[in-house]
Symmetry: C2
Subunit: 419 residues, 2 copies
């Protein structure tokens, strides 16, 4: 019997399947547009489900359109060791975000079929519905319902900008399944994904051993000063809302730098009122995004932000008072992945000689929800320049192959290979 | 003969005329909406021209609709000593901006008539067309043509958002005069105006002796970094355009503070791209407005801004490079007013016992153009909270009366009172 760590998937077949899937909804710039539950998404699902059946998987569709492809194990009483991701894309998305995780799982199933390998526990390949959340919110919809983050009805009654509902659009493409959500437990869950960031590429590492996801806090801030004419108003008599706000914007970055390397801080949106060249701004609104791997550190960052708001409001920062409103918009605590599964990923990378490093995911993934209900880990591979959610998103075939090999090994290790 | 410095205008009549004019185009919130060359502007002009005729003034209308009311002097060969302002308003304007200057001049003419006072030089009350520039650009249109800042045809062919031209709208309200622009010189020009800023009120002074207008430089700045996902991108690998831009925005304020008290700096407009909560900004555009009373200081401020752009671009400021484009939008050099006329204003305030101070105007006025062709000065009175271009614009009757008394005295001093 070939030892697991020398058993390899077929990299050429993996790449070809990714390219074949990418033809559906291909964009002129080399990207992909297959928004969730559109006819193109339906065509993509049909293509992949066909491949899953050819690989010997037994298909179940649940009521939110999640697709489960089961490969029986020797012991049908064990919960399945699962892998998966999504195949819906952003409007100007790439070929790899989501699709790589599904195609890597498919390639593992094909490889096991080629080699006639049996496992103790069943294996399962999952395609989650509407991960991107571009057409329908909530994002990570299919995994969210499966993991009981929100009710099925919330998902089914969501409508797009044209008033079309998830319920109707699922039926329209024939993926309004009958299985309850959820109707089974997962023994383990692995998700392979492009990194969507620049870390692996910069370090020249092939495999990211993902230890968990960053916690996230989103806020909206409103700074109100006093609108006045730019000409006649001397500097000391101003209560310039924008000048005040820039101090808080910079503090967001300083907080993140002080919590390096895992602290992150971003001001992505800012609006100035009344927005006239010769009027001192009376009001500025902006978003704040703080992230950290550890809940205690994220709480400290939150406290720093609140203290900065107070100092800005009472005039300590600028010498004049302003009104500062900090509104909580969203709070996801950090999600550590399961150490045994994380170790399985690391050991496979090590055994196969792939350069690797620990990493956390800053982006949301179905795995982050699944981690709440089942042992979970993720496998990252580099993407070009760290760019994703973009038609120029790119990844190297050898990196994708390496990621799928690690997935193969980790799944076999968790499911138990029958000698 | 009553000495000039004890001769007084009728404050009650001045206030009443301001309130009567404010009925035309009155807004619900107590403001005024008489946009240039609308029917309401026509009604306002008709009312004031009627009063001017009653005060014994001889009316001339020029081809851009400027109204001149001449009070003959003993020596008709002398150029007139003039005063005036405008009676068009902002869409949500107040009762005093512009109107006070015209009504103060009218009240001086009425007072001279009441007392049978004759002057050596003729006196002239001028209503300039379209000072506000809200409906038609260029702003300060009537004085701009009179002072040869731009050609008559530029003004006449200007159109509003509905495609209506100044030429047609002047004819429509009957103010398409025949007099060439200009058809005479001005011996001196005084303009009384509310301050439109908070300085006099804060210092509890009644009269602002305006020594000139601030020079102004307008710029548009574009800072380009690299758009990236807020989650997966570590702080040291970012080229955040907004974080970079905030340093330049703050430098604008620091430059102004370093050139206190007359330096002013404002960022009134800022736009962030792509403006998504979890995307690091790739581009920020913003406006810069720098002002100073002295041309050499304004040039130094300009040099400081350019140096800050360079330091930001090459990474000195933030540790990462960005592209910084600084585009010149407008440059008005400082306009000092005429010392003899400025002194005349100060002497009248002093002789009449009004608290006063030197001040510069940060806002644009017809007087700033007139200063290029004739000896000019302005007289400021306080306005409530420094607010103008707003329906809540307000001023105290006793301050307006004081301003008109100073105007009376200054005009008589320059025109020469016949004993």
């Amino acid at each position: 019997m070939t030892p697991t760590h020398t058993l390899e998937i077929n990299g050429t077949r993996l790449w070809q399947s990714l390219m074949d899937l990418a033809r559906i909804g291909a964009t002129d710039k080399g990207g992909n547009c297959r928004l969730a539950l559109t006819e193109l998404d339906g065509q993509g699902r049909d293509l992949v489900v066909g491949w899953m059946k050819e690989a010997g998987l037994e298909i179940t569709i649940d009521q939110v359109g999640n697709i489960f492809g089961r490969r029986p194990g020797k012991n049908p009483g064990l919960p399945p060791v699962a892998t998966g991701s999504h195949i819906d894309t952003q409007p100007t998305g790439g070929k790899f975000d989501g699709c790589f995780g599904v195609m890597a799982g498919l390639e593992v199933m094909r490889t096991l079929q080629d080699h006639g390998i049996e496992t103790e526990a069943p294996l399962e390949l999952i395609i989650w519905t509407n991960e991107e959340g571009t057409r329908f919110v909530p994002v990570m919809m299919g995994s969210g319902v499966f993991c009981k983050i929100f009710p099925l009805e919330t998902a089914l009654s969501a409508v797009d900008v044209n008033g079309k509902s998830v319920r109707n659009e699922l039926a329209n493409i024939g993926y309004n399944g009958q299985a309850p959500v959820p109707d089974h437990e997962l023994g383990s869950y692995f998700e392979a994904h492009i990194e969507q960031g620049p870390i692996l590429e910069a370090a020249d590492n092939v495999i990211g051993v993902v230890s968990g996801s960053l916690g996230l806090r989103w806020y909206d801030v409103t700074v109100t000063g006093m609108e006045a004419h730019a000409g006649p108003t001397p500097m000391p008599m101003r209560r310039d809302a924008l000048y005040a706000a820039t101090h808080l914007m910079q503090e967001v970055i300083r907080i993140a730098l002080d919590y390096a390397p895992e602290g992150r801080g971003t001001v992505g949106v800012a609006n100035v009122y009344p927005s006239s060249r010769n009027v001192i701004p009376g009001k500025v609104t902006f978003s704040v995004d703080l992230r950290h791997e550890r809940a205690d550190k994220l709480a400290e960052m939150d406290a720093r932000l609140r203290a900065a708001c107070t100092a800005l409001a009472n005039g300590t920062t600028t010498g004049y008072t302003v009104d500062v409103q900090l509104q909580d918009i969203q709070h996801f605590p950090p999600t550590p992945f399961t150490p045994e599964l994380v170790n399985a990923v690391r050991e496979q990378a090590e055994a196969r000689g792939y350069s690797h490093q620990s990493i956390v995911t800053g982006a949301g993934h179905d795995a982050v929800y699944v981690a709440r209900v089942a042992p979970t880990a993720m496998i990252f591979v580099p993407c070009k320049d760290g760019i994703s959610h973009n038609e120029i998103e790119d990844a190297k075939p050898e990196h994708l192959e390496a990621g799928a090999n690690v997935l193969l090994g980790a799944l076999l290790e968790r499911a138990g290979r029958v000698a």
